[in-house]
């Protein structure tokens, strides 16, 4: 509904993805001297984070993102994150990618739902961006790109009214509707129930601008207060201390959107399993070609800005596992319920040599500093590619 939702969705989900990847890379990393060829080191981790963040904040890509438009379909968005996660030397199996996406989406859904004021969605976004800047603090070039996006967010969103922010929030909630994947950190902290629903707290600070419930004031026809009564409820609310900052730098106050993972709190999901709730969720869309042209242009720009890091013939792939063991990952792939399958379009699956050459050209070596502009011709080629699938 709101045509200003996509940047917030993309940046926040991207932020969550980076938290998770960073945690998993740290968990699996080996000190440099001891590492074998196929094991992660700290240097590799920083490289992966840099590569993904560079791609995410690509200038042309951001321009496309900030144009007023409806949200993309779930499938198209998932495909974008697939590409983003593979913007570096890192490789993820389908099961790990599914788990990554589950965690990202449930985390952001939680943040949107518990957001005190609709405008606080912007603070959540800023929390993610602050953390992203921390990841790349040693790289001034990329830092600049992120700051640029920060400025664009401030310009686009700080003037919106509460009603418009609420519409953005409602658009996001509709996007996340009926997703009830259980996340073990949420279950442990008792913010999510075993049926996958989130718990709304009835204590704590009220949103900035709201009064603590309890007071009733009555006025006469002259406008004078003539009566005042108080009531109590089960809630236990307090006045908030201060408002979060909406500037480029500042204390955001809100904790939603900050990194909740650490090496000691690993990421896990439980599949909610086939349940009656899932059977009734509305069909995603009935259009036979799941990626409409605009979405492909978006994707093309993303690919156009991609600096390939495909390992050469002699290097083995650097695979990241979102699960604790390879066996767990295999098991997850086999037992994932059908209704939770993301049905990702794999655009590398082409037999046509002519088209494969075209795709190779797109994925060819590109300078990050001067990304080849994604011409509409490229978008058309991709469209033709999709039609052939």
């Amino acid at each position: 509904m709101s045509v200003r939702t996509l940047p917030l969705l993309f940046l926040n989900l991207g932020g969550e993805m980076l938290y998770i990847l960073d945690q998993r890379l740290r968990a699996q990393s080996i000190p440099g001297e001891k590492a074998r060829k196929d094991e992660w080191t700290d240097v590799d981790r920083k490289r992966v984070m840099n590569d993904i963040i560079t791609t995410m904040f690509n200038k042309k890509f951001m321009e496309e993102l900030f144009k007023p438009q409806e949200l993309y379909s779930k499938k198209a968005l998932r495909t974008v994150y697939d590409r983003l996660a593979h913007a570096s030397i890192m490789r993820l199996n389908q099961a790990s990618m599914d788990k990554l996406y589950d965690l990202m989406t449930m985390a952001f859904k939680y943040q949107v739902l518990l957001c005190p004021r609709p405008k606080d969605i912007l603070l959540i976004t800023f929390n993610h961006l602050d953390a992203i800047k921390d990841f790349i603090q040693d790289s001034p070039g990329i830092l600049n790109q992120v700051d640029e996006t920060f400025r664009q967010l401030i310009e686009t969103y700080t003037c919106l009214s509460a009603g418009e922010f609420q519409l953005i929030r409602q658009t996001l909630l509709i996007f996340f509707q009926d997703m009830h994947i259980r996340v073990s950190i949420f279950l442990k902290d008792k913010v999510q129930n075993s049926n996958g629903r989130f718990v709304l707290p009835i204590s704590g600070p009220v949103p900035w601008g709201t009064e603590v419930p309890g007071l009733i004031r009555m006025f006469n026809h002259n406008g004078d207060e003539v009566k005042r009564t108080e009531f109590t409820t089960d809630g236990n609310y307090v006045t908030p201390q201060r408002e979060g900052s909406f500037d480029l730098y500042g204390d955001r106050v809100l904790k939603l959107g900050t990194n909740m993972y650490s090496v000691s709190r690993p990421v896990e999901t439980h599949m909610s399993g086939s349940s009656k709730n899932l059977a009734s969720h509305a069909k995603e869309n009935t259009v036979p070609n799941p990626l409409a042209k605009e979405e492909l242009n978006f994707l093309a720009r993303l690919l156009g800005g991609l600096e390939t890091k495909t390992p050469g013939g002699s290097e083995t792939g650097f695979r990241l596992n979102l699960f604790t063991t390879d066996e767990e990952e295999e098991h997850a792939a086999l037992t994932r319920p059908e209704e939770l399958s993301y049905k990702v379009i794999n655009i590398e699956a082409t037999q046509d040599p002519g088209r494969r050459a075209e795709l190779s050209r797109i994925l060819g070596e590109l300078e990050v500093a001067e990304p080849r502009p994604a011409s509409s011709g490229k978008g058309e080629d991709l469209l033709a590619l999709m039609d052939g699938l």
């Binding site: 045509v3 009835i202 009555m218 709730n277």
Partner: protein, 332 residues
């Protein structure tokens, strides 16, 4: 005071939108119908009075032609007029009106996208029957469309366009009780928090305009000349419809209010908000001073299991003793 009836489970969750529950009482048939929107469709449940029989239906809203729409529905509401009952659906594309069982579409009105500045969302929202003859629907540009509804048939026309609001309409409500003279028949509310009270007729006239105070008014009700308005900062405010005077201010909820409803025979007001609380308030008016009194009668949080109530409806039970029966819909 109030009696919570048996819970009714809808076939799918309901969208997190304002005022997302409509109830139709069919006294002759001892049936109540409930509807809530979810994405591009409406869930409709018919429940027998004895609480034993339920029948579920899901309507896929059609837009103009035969194609099933993919645009999101913002609201569904039954409009009861003297001669007929229509089910009105509002969406991102426009306004559709169906016979009350949803079987036949009798009218379709497409929203004019060019009326909206680029970068603004386009949708219709806010539905109410007024003046025994009209159905009023709000839009995201702030315009309220007044449709003239004939006693039967499909010859529905736009009789007037009301242009007092500058922000997207959130809710519209018609007088539920007996309005004192000059108090108006209809109230419209918008995203900025401005309220307009109207007198319905061949030409609608503005009775009073209540200025915003910086908060969205997401839900509004009109009863015996009193406007009850629910706001984004969790406040409920009561105004005199004829003059726009503020009569009461309640710090009711810790989060955004999503729905209000009122039982006209008893003056019980229900409020539901994102803090997961449902409150029942008693409204009354002093006969001599005309001061409005409001007090909390009951409150119940729904913790954990269900996220929130986004809409409720207080309904007088025609076969009961006239007390309001509160029904709540667990959603999402």
């Amino acid at each position: 005071m109030y009696r919570k009836e048996k819970s009714i489970q809808l076939k799918s969750s309901s969208a997190a939108l304002y005022n997302n529950l409509s109830v139709l009482r069919l006294p002759g048939r001892q049936l109540a119908c409930f509807s809530a929107v979810h994405g591009p469709s409406v869930n409709v449940v018919s429940a027998a009075a004895d609480g034993l029989g339920f029948s579920h239906r899901q309507l896929q809203a059609k837009e103009g032609g035969m194609a099933v729409s993919t645009s999101i529905l913002t609201q569904a509401a039954w409009c009861v007029l003297p001669s007929r009952v229509l089910l009105v659906l509002t969406s991102q594309k426009g306004i559709q009106m169906y016979e009350s069982d949803g079987s036949i579409m009798v009218y379709w009105h497409a929203l004019d996208v060019t009326e909206h500045p680029p970068g603004q969302a386009v949708f219709a929202r806010g539905i109410a029957a007024a003046g025994g003859r009209f159905i009023c629907v709000g839009t995201s540009s702030g315009v309220v469309l007044v449709f003239d509804i004939p006693p039967k048939g499909t010859n529905i026309t736009v009789s007037e366009v009301l242009e007092q609001h500058r922000d997207a309409i959130t809710d519209i409500a018609a007088e539920l009780g007996q309005a004192p003279d000059g108090a108006g028949d209809l109230v419209t509310a918008d995203d900025a928090g401005t309220l307009c009270v109207w007198s319905a007729g061949e030409e609608f006239t503005l009775v009073s305009k209540i200025p915003a105070f910086g908060c969205t008014c997401s839900s509004v009700k009109l009863w015996n000349g009193v406007v009850a308005a629910g706001y984004g900062n969790g406040q409920i405010r009561l105004y005199e419809a004829a003059t726009g005077l503020l009569r009461a201010e309640v710090n009711a909820h810790a989060r955004w209010i999503y729905a209000l409803d009122l039982a006209p025979e008893t003056g019980k007001l229900l409020s539901g908000a994102e803090d997961s609380f449902v409150h029942v308030w008693k409204l009354s008016r002093s006969l001599d001073t005309e001061d409005v009194e409001v007090s909390l009668r009951s409150s119940s949080p729904q913790r954990g299991a269900y996220c929130k109530y986004t809409a409720l409806q207080a309904v007088t039970a025609p076969w009961g003793c006239g007390t309001g029966a509160a029904l709540s819909c667990s959603l999402w």
